[in-house]
Every structure is written in C-alpha cells, then in structure tokens.
C-alpha cells in the first residue's frame, strides 16, 4: 500500500528508508576517519588553496576529496598512512583538474588578511608568483617543496611519469625562482 502523498515510490526504495541507515561501505570507522582527517586535512587544504587559487573552491574540493575516499573502500583498504596520504593528494589533484576543465576560473582574488598573515609581504610575493604559474606547475612545486615528496611520489599523486615530473619540475622551479626574484626586486626598488 502506497502511503498517502507518496505516489509512485518504489517498494525497494521505501524499504531502504524504513530500515535504519546502514553504515557506509568504508574500511574505516568514524573514529579512524576522524584521525585520518585530522592528520591530513590541513596539508590537503593548503595544497588545494595554493593550486586552485580560491578558498571557497578549496573548501568544496577538500570535502569532495574525503567523500570520494570513503566512497571507494576497496581502493583505500589496506593502504598505510603514507599511501593513504598520497592517494588523497591524487584524488585532490584529479578534482582540481576536473574543476579547471569545467571552466572554473582560477584567480587569487581573495586578499590575505592583513592582521593574520604570518608575513604579509612574503604572502603577496608568493601569491603573485603562483598567479603567473600554470596549475600543473603549482601542483609540482607544492608537492615537492611543501609536502617534501620525491619524484616517484609526485608521479603517483599527479598521474605523470617520473621523467615528466623531473622535467616539468625543473622548468617550474626555474620559472618560479625568476618570478620570485622579480617580485623581490620590485619590492626592494
């Protein structure tokens, strides 16, 4: 008997709703997820802010990253802490690429809060430098210099080959140093 006001509801769908919500098909409990999240959310968020250039986009992508991790229990099961961390960066990298391909504009439009920045001038220099780099270049530089990943780990996180990572990172590093030097020179003068 279809409840009043719910015409056309499938029988199976109604049964799913009446049953208590099943726990997610995830390899970890909520407590384990909490620990993983506390350990990795900060670095992932920083990576997304730096690469996407927008904090609102980074917040959304951060949540989406962990949702995808939980939605694929088979892929995440059996991974140690480092491998899970690399997997999270891989998911985040793919999400940024998908967002960029969908036409989401990338800009460093949000100014650094003057009262909270660790070093306002340095932040402005870095933001100006990152603004002139491509998304891939930002990804490689951040993973190498901030996260301390080696070429193999960066290749696993970005889906590139090690040789490509080496070449692209070399070019990105030179470009970034040149941009940073120009920024410092401008400030000094």
């Amino acid at each position: 008997m279809t409840p009043a006001g719910e015409p056309g509801r499938g029988i199976l769908a109604r049964e799913l709703e009446l049953q208590p919500a099943e726990p997610m098909a995830a390899p970890m409990s909520e407590l384990e997820f909490q620990r993983l999240y506390d350990a990795t959310a900060g670095p992932i968020l920083g990576y997304l802010v730096a690469v996407s250039g927008r904090r609102d986009v980074a917040d959304d992508l951060l949540q989406e990253t962990y949702c995808r991790l939980l939605a694929r229990p088979r892929k995440a099961s059996g991974l140690d802490a480092d491998a899970t961390r690399r997997y999270l960066f891989r998911i985040a990298t793919n999400l940024v690429r998908d967002r960029w391909r969908s036409g989401e504009t990338q800009s460093f439009a949000e100014p650094v809060e003057a009262g909270q920045a660790v070093d306002l001038d340095a932040s402005i220099d870095i933001r100006a430098m990152l603004q002139h780099l491509k998304t891939r270049e930002r990804q490689l530089l951040w993973l190498a210099y901030v996260e301390g990943m080696d070429h193999a780990e960066i290749a696993a996180a970005t889906g590139l080959t090690r040789l490509s990572v080496r070449m692209l990172l070399y070019r990105a590093r030179n470009k970034a140093k040149l941009l940073l030097h120009r920024g410092e020179t401008t400030h000094a003068s």
Binding site: A13, E17, L62, L180
Partner: protein, 128 residues
Amino acid sequence: MHPEQNPLHSETDRLESLRPDPLRRALRSYAASIAATHAAPPASIVWLRAERRSRRLAIERAERPLRIMQVLGLVCAVLAAAWMLRQTGGLHPLPTMGTTMVILAIAMTILVIAGCWTMMHASRRLSS
C-alpha cells in the same frame, strides 16, 4: 646508463633538496599562512556528507530497474494504442472485435500510459 637508473642522479636530487632554498622557504611560509588563516571544516560534516551521498546512491541503484520497467511499460502502452487506433481507422477492420471492446481496450491503454507517466514523474520529483 639510463638517467633514471643512475643512483647519483637521485642522490643529486636529494642533496639539492636539502640545500637552503629561498623558493622552498617562501612556499613553506605561505603554507603556514594558509594554515593560520584558513581552517578545514570539521570531520563530522564531511562524514555526514559522505553518508548522505552513499544513501542517495543506494536508493538510485535500487530504483533503476523500476524506472526501466516503467519506461518499457510506457513504450508498450503507446505502441498498443497506436496499433489499436490503426485497426479502428478503417484500413483493416477487425472482424471479431466489437465497438465496446475496442473502446474498453483504448480506455485501458490510456490508463496504463497515464499510470506509467505519473509514476515516472513522481519518482523524478522525489529523487531530485
């Protein structure tokens, strides 16, 4: 020896990475400023979002065969109605089917089409 296989190649990279580097310092300082000014949302919010998505996907998977049958029923009803209309159009008069039976058949077909359409519309509205 291939550059990738040269142990010194990777050792050079490691040594280079240990040297003080203004770019590394600048990027890490920026990372610290992001961490200081922008906190990640609580884990509980992300967990709930993932739970809701999992539940929604499970419902969609369960409803998929029902939607397929609804579409098939609608298609069959439309084809049956078209066939019956063609039969009563005078081109091929039915020798044995009376007018009453034809009217009843057409009415049933319309009811089936209307029922299928209502169920599909309601399912789409509830799942959206």
